[in-house]
Amino acid sequence: MRWEDLKQDIKNFLFEFRRQKIGIMGVILLVILLVIAIFAPVIATEGAKDNWRNMAYWDENPADAPPAWMNYFTGKDMSPHIIMDTYDEKIEDLGGGIKRDELTFNYDYKYDVPPTDLTFKAELIYYNAAKPPSINMVLLRPDGNTIKLYSKPSKTGKSEEDHYVAEVNVLVSASDTAKKEAYNFGREFETKDNLKKILSADFVDPMSVIFSKTEPGILLEEADPLKGNYKLIVDIYYFDKRDSTRSAKSIFAGKVYGLLGTDSNRRDLFKGVVWGTRWALALGLLTAVFSVGIGIAFGITSAYLGGWKDEFMQRINEAVASLPFLPILILISAVFKPSIWNIIILMSLLFWTGTAKVARSMGLQIKEETYIEAARCLGAGNRRIILRHMIPQVMPYAFANMALSVPSALLTEAGLSFLGLGDTTVITWGQILYGAQTAGATLRGLWWWVVPPGLAIAIVGLTFVMIGTALDTVLNPKMKRM
């Protein structure tokens, strides 16, 4: 084939393809998907991929939070996720070697539904091993009332050179002080009937009390929200002059979070779905190319060789085709726990039979063409005839078939992952759905955990189905009539 011919062929192909509306849509989708896959580190940060299974990495996020844009639909303004690392600091010497460090965080609360949790995080540096600093946390409400949230010495820290570093992580939802204080605070404003409904302080959500107006229903999450400027005041008492605090921040855990919300492990689902695009495209395309490649080579060789060799190869094809591949993949995965690369190879080794069958029947026609005879007369060997004269003839069919076999590869891998058999070192959509299934997301109505990954699978599948159908129409006009 000369270069000029090839150029003309491509030109003709593009001319034809441009008239396939479905194909053009598929190509646009593919470009978008490729951009997402390539720029995943920019869109979703490298850290999210590396720490996907490191739960400590995500502990600043709220758990089970729906996406932030839910606010437009529910009519209620739910508080978003806010991390505050700026604060006013006031250090005061109380005498007797005691110092007080007062950190004030200003939180402007203007929502209808309070944050799910309030966390204070800091690293305390102290020098006297026997006396780690003590923490006292108070919330000042816009109406002037204060609620005590926490009061305890920090736990002992790790020794570093001549000092110690204690990592402080105070969760209001886990603080008994906050629970008790919020209950006592709310009780004054409650009606007798309401108080009877509450068995003990354990049944009260401190966060909802803190952000409610002082009116009946405050303990039952029925009172109106109290909007305005809240001050979170954290007093840290040092017992050595050199003690100090660093990287302090407070987190108002959102009722809603980000573009796609979070799962039960507090992971940002948007990041997971974005990173999943890479493997979805990679494994779909690689499996398609490998399996169709094997199929074409096998089918053409079988057709060309003919006779008992053809018969034998057809029996092999039939044997492989009569295997139910998902059960076999499940068995292999359950026993050998293969990596994603091995899964790709295994799928390629099972998926080629259909292509081989069609390639063989096409090969049987091509074999009888006079130019094959001519090539043989010129002394061309088997390999040369197959590679140079026969395989190029079936390439159009191969391309269309590749695009069409991407979805099944994708669905198979997603299925394996969904059963918990995927490669756990990478993020795939199937694995996100496995997490959703084991956490009972469907029974708890966490639709933002279930819908996006599956939709992503469907979109990638659809993209290739559209491209494949268009390619088929353009490249194989003969096949349509068969």
């Binding site: 039939e318 009569s322 994708l410 969904f418 299934q437 469907t442 029974l443 599948g461 659809l462």
Partner: protein
């Protein structure tokens, strides 16, 4: 006569594939299966050391006893034979449905025998997927016929697009979405199909099973009927252009009779075999779909076995799947051969 030969050839072919595949799998997974067997032996011997006569023995005697019992079991399970012999034995056992014992998993009646466990769940899978298969084939064929008759209409285009979309939908994911909508949000159906109702009287039992089966059934039908309608549409459009259809119309045969008598008859062999093949194809997705709905069939057993790392059960399930798959393929061939008279007279016996 030709049909008999065709039939025999198909069956022999399937049997050869079955034996070869099971032999290969037995050889590949022999080590895993034997490792599990050794654990079983250890447990059995440890169980025997718990009786009082063992405690009264001297330390030396105890050691001897343990070694002796172990040897006994190793011989009993045939682990002292040569590798080839062991693989042959395993192949034979598998072909006769002796899959061995599970470790922790038990059938509802308390049996640890893998074949019993599978036997109890298999009918439920078949019930669900055959029912679904029958429903979506009928709907699919009817819709396909309608859209073939009005090729190019908006119904026809809609079906084509729907078929394209449903081709790339994971069935089990659609199931999850349906649970969210119909069970969680609307509360029309139960979110979990387990446990199935106890038998009291026929009406109550059938009603209860149907209620629990409804959502999985709807899911399977929803995902499959589009592609199926599209396939039958293409088949029917091909046949509508045949000469005999034109002749029938020219003779004045009513259109209904043309469609349901002539066209469907001609399409029957392909449609029936394709139905069997789609059913087969959906068996794969079925494994996962059952898990989503907690339908107590093979799929849910798969899930449980994978979570508990029950290799004997997974192997047993795989073999059963291969059996079913090959059986259905032979069945498809036979039905095709029966419905297509050309095969009976041997014209295309070599196709």
């Amino acid at each position: 006569m030709a049909y008999g030969r065709y039939l025999a050839l198909r069956i022999i072919n399937a049997l050869i594939v079955l034996v070869v595949v099971i032999f290969v799998i037995s050889a590949l997974f022999n080590k895993v299966a034997e490792d599990q067997l050794k654990i079983t032996i250890e447990e059995q011997v440890r169980g025997e050391t718990r009786n009082p006569t063992f405690a009264r023995m001297s330390a030396e005697k105890q050691k001897e006893f343990i070694a002796q019992r172990k040897e006994y079991y190793i011989h009993m399970y045939g682990l002292d034979k040569s590798y080839i012999q062991r693989v042959m034995d395993r192949t034979k056992d598998t072909l006769t449905l002796h899959f061995g014992k599970a470790h922790e998993l038990r059938s509802p009646t308390g049996s640890k025998e893998v074949s019993t466990i599978i036997k109890e769940v298999l009918p439920r899978s078949i019930l669900l997927f055959t029912t679904a298969g029958i429903i979506y084939s009928i709907i699919g064929i009817l819709v396909g016929l309608k859209s073939a008759q009005r090729a190019g209409s908006s119904l026809d285009k809609g079906i084509s697009i729907f078929a394209l979309v449903s081709l790339s939908l994971p069935m089990w994911w659609v199931g999850m979405i349906f649970i969210l909508i119909f069970a969680f949000k609307l509360g029309w159906f139960p979110a979990s199909s387990y446990p199935l109702p106890q038998y009291e009287n026929l009406l109550q039992y059938v009603g209860g099973v149907l209620y629990k089966m409804a959502l999985p059934l709807i899911t399977i039908v929803f995902v499959n009927f589009g592609g199926w309608a599209y396939t039958s549409r293409n088949l029917v459009i091909g046949i509508l252009q045949e000469d005999f259809v034109m002749v029938a119309r020219a003779k004045g045969v009513p259109e209904r009779k043309v469609i349901y008598g002539h066209v469907l008859r001609a399409a029957a062999p392909s449609i029936v075999t394709l139905t069997i093949f789609t059913l087969l194809g959906s068996l794969g997705g079925a494994i996962i779909t059952e898990t989503v709905f907690n339908w107590p069939g093979m799929g849910r057993l798969y899930w449980a076995a994978i979570q508990m790392n029950e290799i004997p059960v997974i192997m047993g399930l795989t073999f059963v799947n291969i059996f079913l798959y090959l059986f259905a393929m032979v069945l498809a061939d036979l039905v095709y051969g029966y419905l297509d008279p050309r095969i009976k007279v041997g014209v295309s016996g070599r196709v």
